[in-house]
Each structure stands twice: as C-alpha cells, then as structure tokens.
C-alpha cells in the first residue's frame, strides 16, 4: 500500500533536539488519543513509519495493519552527546535507531563557524547519507522541518549547513525552519554573531522560517505559572492543557525547559495537523509558502498560538471561540516579542483545529479585519485551514502565522547587538581561525540582514497611505 504525505524532521543542536523530543512525545500522545484502533493509518504515517522488527531488513508494514513498532521520520544531529543520549535512555528511545542519529563529543563551542564550516565539512557525507536513507522510507516526501536555535554553535552553524544540504539534495521538497532566537540577555556572548551568520543562510535557503523568541516563551511560561499559583479564585489554569504540560506523554517528571519546548512542539503539531487529519478545508504544507511568501526573501512568519492560558471557568462557547481569534492577534500570544497589530501585514494564515465552521471563520475575519493593517495590494490576504481534530485536552485551537513587518524589530535588535561586538572586532579571532571562515562572511551576513530589514522597512512605509488602484489595461474597442 502506498503511504500518504510524509514529512521529515531534522533537529540540530541541543535546543533543537530538546524541542524535537517534546514534539515526538506529544505527537505520539495526540495519535494515541485520536487513533483508538491501533491500526497504522495515513495520519500516523506523516511523521512515523511502522516497522516490523522481526524482519531482518527492518521492513516497513503497510497501511491498515496493526501498529508494530513506530519509528520517527527524523534525523537527530548534535555535536555533543548529552541531549541525544538522554533521549536514547528515555522512553522515546524506541522511536529512533542508530541510523537516524549523528553525534560528536566535543561540541561547537558556541561558534557558528565550527558548526557550519568544520563539522559541516567533516560530517557532510554522513549527514547527506542519513537524510537520504530517511527520505527513502518516505513514499511521498512533502516537507522538511528543521528545528534549531540561532544563538549557539551547532544548531546555528551546522543547522544552517543541513538546510543548504537539503536544498542541494532535495530541491523540490519544501523546507520549513523553526528557529529559536536568543534572548537579549543571552549568556552566550557570541550569540549575535551566530544569529546573524545563520540569518543569511535562512534568508537564502529556507522556504519559510518560523522565528520563535526564547524570551517570549519565558514570558508565556511565567505568566501561566503566575496565573495558576495566585490567580483569582475560580480562574485556575487547567493542568491537562496540552500547550504547556507534557501530561499523558511518555515522559514522567518535567524538566525546566519542558514547558517552553512544549509550546514550540505544539506549534509544529498545529502546523501539520491539516496534513495529518481530515477537515472541511485542508491546508497542505506547501500552501504555507505559496500563500504567505509574496517575495522570496520575505519568508519569516510570526507565529501566535491560542489558547495558551486555558482557564477552567465556564463561559458561553461562541464567546470563548471568538476570544480565541482575538487572542491570536494580541501581544501576549505571540511567540516573538512583537506587536503585529501596530505593524503591517503582508499576509496571514489562520490554522484552526476542532469543531469550528466556516461561518465562525468568516465572522471573526470580518470582525478583526478593520483593526489590522494590511499591505495595499493584499487587503484580503487571509488564508484559512479547518482541521476537524482538536489538540488533546482542548475543544479547539488556533495557530496564526503572520507575514508581518513587526519581525523587523527582532532583526534590528540583532543587528545592533552584532554591530556592538563587531565594531570592536571582539571574539572575531575565534571564528577566523576556522578553516573556510573569512572576515567577508561577517560583512556579507550583516549586509544580507540590513537589506532584509530595508525590504521590510520599505513596505512598512506604505502603511496607512492611500494607494490608488493600478491603472487597468485598456482594450481596443
């Protein structure tokens, strides 16, 4: 039997693998919740393959059969062993086998050049080999998800190297990157260098980048904690809400970063929900870039997720549903520290899960539209998807992806911190020692970032201006 659409995840570096670990755990929980029959189906096949371990060749079992042994469609890469080993010792170990893993022992020392240049060259063949093997198991490979962070050395350096290898090897397959951006008070002193160097690669080689800021995740988790500890009586946070809790997953005790990583993992679950489950308005993964990326480099999509702060009070259902739509545009629900309402929308996608009808969508778009500034040539720049299966523990959920000029502020911030270091040539020698790394890499990276900011700036300047319709073609009569 042929298999359906499949996606391949690659997690690179410590942060990437921690997020990935939460993602596969929650994905398994979601499928266990929906799939009561224990039969391997289309939905499961998009992230997992079903393997009969009794067969010596590890042969795949077809659809409609019992779930034998699920293997994640994934390649995990890290240049130290800690996180990957932890995964292998935990309950998720069975989901991976050695052909999917690549580790080294010494790490990249928070140096983009070490990850991108040194390890990138040493492990190039091995990485390509593992990606190809994983891809061979996919009958129809629709999308690559790359999960990494921007601040360190491995995720940022080797992660972006993996991205360009994907483009070389599988030019037709869509590349969606989830990038975790460092906080301004990051303890990695070279994180501005690493991030800016990585940005150039993301701008050139990704189809879509979904930036997530560490600080936003911290803020969200703190707010939830605050509300559940000392909130008003009667307004308690539901503990089984899947957005932050890992309950029901395979992992027992929670680690400090788990709550934050769960949010990112849920983002990934929601993006892929429509490709996995049925709905009255499907949204395939390749539709994301098609609808949200008007110009090739402007492919940074600001994510917001609701409900984040699920309250256990009882309110009128439609009000709660409408509130969910409003929340997606509020500052508190952005996974990037930015306020899209005050900037310019180039396009916006609403990916809805649960029992929500097209009339609910239409009502809310009509209601919210007047308060949201859209670029003149895309006044109706909305893309919607309806997936009928809600996340575990919720009746409905909404992921909004906004191509919005507010992303510029994060980039400006980064540029400023980069310039501060670069003016003094601080730590530069650590990078220039690395073979293949030259000072021009820095200047090219910062030029690339500046021109990206300039493009957003240029569009931003059209905001609020009345732009007349383009004069129409005239027809000889």
């Amino acid at each position: 039997m042929p298999e359906g659409d499949t996606s391949l995840c690659s997690a690179v570096g410590q942060c990437g693998n921690q997020v990935g670990c939460r993602f596969w755990d929650l994905a398994l929980r979601e499928h266990a919740h929906v799939n009561k029959t224990g039969v391997y189906d289309d939905a499961l096949s998009s992230f997992f393959r079903n393997v009969d371990s009794r067969k010596s060749d590890g042969g795949a079992c077809g659809f409609g059969g019992r779930i034998q042994h699920l293997k994640a469609r994934a390649v995990l890469v890290d240049m130290e062993e800690g996180v990957v080993n932890e995964i292998l010792q935990g309950p998720l170990s069975e989901v991976f086998d050695s052909t999917q893993l690549l580790t080294d022992v010494s790490g990249s020392g928070n140096n983009w050049a070490v990850g991108h240049m040194s390890y990138g060259s040493v492990y190039r063949e091995q990485i390509v080999d593992k990606l190809r093997k994983a891809a061979e198991h996919c009958d129809c490979l629709q999308c690559f998800f790359l999960i990494h962070s921007m601040g360190g050395g491995t995720g940022s350096g080797l992660g972006t190297r993996v991205l360009s290898l994907l483009e070389e090897e599988f030019p037709e397959v869509c590349r969606i990157v989830t990038s975790v951006y460092p906080s301004p008070e990051d303890d990695v002193i070279t994180s501005p260098y690493n991030s800016v160097l990585a940005m150039k690669e993301l701008s050139e080689h990704a189809d879509c980048v979904i930036p997530v800021e560490n600080q936003s995740l911290v803020d969200i988790v703190n707010k939830i904690k605050h509300m559940s500890d000392g909130g008003k009586p009667g307004l308690t946070i539901r503990k089984d809400s899947s957005i932050i809790s890992g309950q029901g997953g395979l992992r027992g005790a929670e680690k400090p970063f788990d709550a934050m990583n769960n949010i990112v993992a849920n983002l990934l679950l929601n993006i892929t929900s429509s490709a996995r489950f049925e709905g009255s308005l499907n949204m395939d993964l390749n539709e994301i870039a098609m609808n949200l990326v008007p110009f090739p480099r402007l492919h940074y999509l600001v994510p917001s997720l609701t409900p984040l702060y699920t309250l256990a009070d009882v309110s009128v259902p439609t009000r709660r549903l409408d509130q969910m739509f409003s929340d997606a545009f509020s500052k508190d629900h952005q996974l990037l520290r930015a306020n899209p309402k005050h900037s310019l929308y180039l396009a916006c996608a609403l990916m809805v899960r649960g029992n929500v009808q097209v009339s609910d969508l239409r009502r809310n778009i009509e209601r919210l539209r007047p308060s949201l500034p859209f670029v003149s040539w895309n006044q109706e720049g909305w893309k919607t998807g309806l997936c009928s299966v809600p996340p575990v523990g919720h009746s409905h959920s909404l992921l909004a992806l906004a191509n919005n000029t507010c992303v510029k502020s994060t980039f400006l911030d980064l540029k400023e911190r980069f310039t501060k270091l670069y003016r003094k040539k601080a730590h530069l020698h650590h990078y220039l020692h690395v073979e293949g790394m030259e000072q021009s890499c820095f200047s090219e990276a910062i030029t690339s970032l500046s021109s990206l900011i300039e493009e957003y700036h240029h569009l931003d300047a059209t905001k609020g201006k009345l732009i007349p319709d383009a004069p129409r073609l005239s027809i000889a009569r």
Partner: protein, 458 residues
C-alpha cells in the same frame, strides 16, 4: 443521453458528491417513471445487480477528499462511485495554478484521459461533459483547466460545460485572484458554457433564507447542488414534443451562449427555505416568479432584500442608448451605485418544476427591454418545464442567466489580481513552474476583453 461529470479538487469533489446525492434522491420516488428513467440514464449507470453508479470521474492531487466522498456515497445505500473512476496523488498542488496546470496536469494526462474515456464509453449516447471545480486553489483550477483542455482535444464535438465555484471575497486562498484570472482566461477559449456559483452569494442564502447559524461547507455545497440539479434534471423544452429533452448540456449551451464572447452564466432559484419549513409552506407560481424577475432586473442574488427601485429602461431610453453607442459606465468601481443599475441580459433560461406548471404565467420574462437590442426575446428567452416537483419543493423556478450579473465580481477579481501583479507579489511562485509574466498579461488582456464586452451590452 448521459452526462459525464469530472470532479476536480477539494471543492469539485465535494460539490459533485452533493449533486449526485440530490439527483438520486429526487428521482427516487418512482411515481414518475419516465422522469426517473431519464434522470437515471443521465447521471448513473447500473450494474448487473441494479446498483446505481455515478457517471463521474474523481480527480484530486491528494487522497483525503476523494476517499471521504467515496465512502459517503457508498454509505448512502442509494448510489456509489465507480471503483475504477478515481485518481488521486499524495501531494496537493499547493494553491498554485501553475503547479496544477504545468506539472500535475501534463504528468498524469494519460491516466486522466483514460478514466474519462472509460466513463464516456459506458454511455449509450453522450450529451456532454461537465467539469466541476473551484477557481481559487491549485488542483481544481490548474489541473481542472488542463483537463478541460485535454477534453476539448479528445472530444472536439462534445459539449463541455464548466461548473465553477468562485471563492469568498476574502479568507480562502491569498493568491485566489491570480488563480481565478488564469483559470477563467483559459477556460473562456475552451468551454461551451461556464456556470458560476459565488461562495459569498450562496453563503448569504444559507444564512438568510435557510436560517442556518453555523454554516459549513457542506451547507454551501448543498445549495449549489440544489441549483444545479434544478437545471440538469429532465425537463420538457418547447420543441421536445412532450418528451423529456435528451441533451441537457447541449440545450443549455444553445439556449444561453449564442456568442463566444459571452459565456458566463449565473443562477438563481426560488423559493429556498429551511427543509423543516417545506412541508408547512404553500406554493404558488405568480409571487415567486415576480420575485425572480425583479431579482434578474436588479441583479439581486437572493429572494430577500430585492431592490424594487430598479426598473426596465423605457423604450425611448433604449433607442437613445443605441444611438449613443453603448453605456460603458457599468464598468467596475461604481461602488454601491452600480448595484442599482439595471442588469441587462443577453439570454435567459427559465426552468419551472412542479404542480400546475402549465398554468404559470411567464410573459414578464419575455419583455424585449430585458435584452439587448440585437436579439429578439424569441431567441433570447427559453423556457423548460417539468410537472415533477423537484427536491421536495412542490413548485420551484430556476433562472439561468447570461447577463451582466457576474460583471461586478469578475471586475473585482481582475482588479485585485492586477493590483497584486503591479507589485509583482507572488509572481516568483508561478515562474518557478513555468508561468511567466507574459502569460499573466495575456490572461489579464483576455479577461479585460470579456469585462468590456459585458459592460457594453445594450
């Protein structure tokens, strides 16, 4: 004679399913044997065991929707889709017309043609082919256009009608206006008639006439199917001599599309009401027909909030506009004022179904002032009747109109696409698959021509 339906993409496959469900349920009572048997022959073939199998080909680039439609049909217990009549791939066209038209279409051409040919060969006599699709996405619009082109080559003498669902003005697909422009411009050269349903209009019918609170795509699609069924079910035409007409698509096209420059057809049906109300309603002919006529005159899209201010131009105005060389003012941007302008028709087809159908007075639809000066009402107006009530309505009337009714939405579509094109937004996504800026310009040019022709009707 039979109609082979080709369902394309998510929308086409959902609407197609509803259409077969409506016509099957409508021709199920068995009391009017000739009506039933003509309807059966038209839409279904029968297996040796007597099961009804839809004369349909299901095409999509991803499997979920087709699987769902096939299961739903099989579970209805009344009819099924053929086991050998569907084609799906694993990966959709990604809302990209170019991906559907330049990649998926050509790649699967042989397989798709074979599926259609097999259905056609099952028909004793073929009336024509109907391709059902939306214009917004990638598969329905892109693959749909490509398939229509192939059908035109393979069946050069057959009637080919496209049923198009136009997207909501906002919120479905961001590049929908590009996809719509490319689809319409190409289909205009291929299709014999283009039947259009606007989602916004149908949504309004669901909300205001059917009183639905939570409107799903299923509700919208059922209204479309009801209107289509009302046109395509058997009817008696003026020259069919008391027998049900044989060739619904051919007669539809010849009644309404008398000039290749004008082939956009809109539809209205009266009455439409919540299904629970039907049993308690009294039906008559004069009231609904009066409404339907004013809906035509004023371009009101549903039997509520009809604008009664709009009147037919007086005879003197008509001659003035003739000497004045056309109005040209109907074009675009007129804002709310444009809605109050008289909607001129090129040709209309009125279909009456139900009790006492022969007593219905339809003279109001034959007023020469409704039509252009260069066609007499005798040529421009057609009337089909059937004494069999349709889909539980004791009496119902449907008007298919080749008029200026679609001028506004078409003009909006082209304007929005053109504004986007002016900044070259999203063009790289199309170039990637082989559609150039030049191709876009060609499509814009041909649609501007259509807009200009319709706005100059006088």
């Amino acid at each position: 004679m039979s109609v082979v339906t080709v369902q394309l993409g998510q929308c086409g496959n959902q609407v197609g399913h509803e259409l077969f469900d409506v016509v099957c349920g409508d021709a199920h009572d068995g009391q009017r044997r000739s009506y039933c048997s003509v309807s059966r022959e038209r839409f279904f073939h029968q297996t040796e065991r007597g099961d009804l199998v839809a004369r349909a080909v299901l095409i999509d680039m991803e499997p979920k929707v087709i699987k769902h439609s096939m299961n739903k049909a099989a579970n209805s217990g009344r009819w099924t889709y053929g086991d050998d009549a569907h084609f799906s791939q694993k990966q959709g066209s990604g809302n990209n017309w170019a991906n559907g038209f330049c990649v998926h279409g050509p790649r699967h051409e042989a397989a798709l043609e074979e599926l259609v040919r097999r259905q056609v060969e099952r028909c004793d006599r073929l009336s024509g082919l109907m391709a059902m699709m939306s214009v917004a996405g990638g598969t329905g619009s892109g693959v749909g256009t490509y398939v229509t082109q192939c059908l035109r080559d393979t069946f050069p003498k057959s009637f080919i009608v496209n049923q198009l669902t136009w997207p909501y003005g906002t919120g479905e697909v961001i590049v929908q206006n590009y996809n719509s422009v490319l689809t319409l411009a190409h289909l205009y050269g291929l299709s014999d008639a283009i039947l259009v349903h606007e989602n916004d209009t149908v949504h309004g019918i669901c909300a205001r006439l059917l009183n639905l609170k939570h409107i799903s795509f299923g509700d919208v699609n059922r209204v479309i199917a009801h209107q289509l069924g009302a046109v395509l079910q058997p009817a008696l035409t003026t020259d069919s001599h008391g027998l049900y007409s044989r060739n619904p698509l051919g007669e539809l096209a010849s009644a309404l599309v008398c000039h290749p420059e004008y082939k956009l057809l809109s539809m209205s049906t009266v009455p439409q009401m919540p299904s629970a109300s039907i049993a308690y309603s009294t039906f008559s002919w004069p009231g609904p027909l009066r409404h339907l006529r004013q809906m035509l005159v004023s371009n009101s899209k549903m039997e509520e909030g009809i604008d009664w201010q709009v009147r037919l131009p007086a005879a003197s105005e008509r001659s003035r506009s003739l000497t004045g060389g056309g109005r040209g003012g109907g074009r675009g941007g007129g804002g709310a004022a444009a809605a109050a302008i008289f909607n001129r028709s090129l040709a209309n087809l009125l279909i009456l179904r139900g009790k006492d159908v022969y007593s219905a007075e339809t003279g109001g639809f034959e007023d020469p002032a409704l039509f252009t000066s260069w066609l007499s009402p005798r040529d421009a107006f057609s009337l089909w009747k059937s004494p069999v009530p349709f889909n539980k309505y004791e009496k119902s009337a449907t008007l298919v109109s080749n008029s200026q009714a679609l001028l506004r939405p078409l003009d909006d579509m082209v304007r929005k696409a053109w504004n986007m094109f002016a900044s070259r937004a999203y063009i790289h996504q199309y170039v990637k698959f082989g559609i150039s800026e030049e191709d876009f310009l060609d499509s814009f040019t041909s649609l501007e021509q259509v807009i200009s022709s319709y706005s100059q009707l006088s």
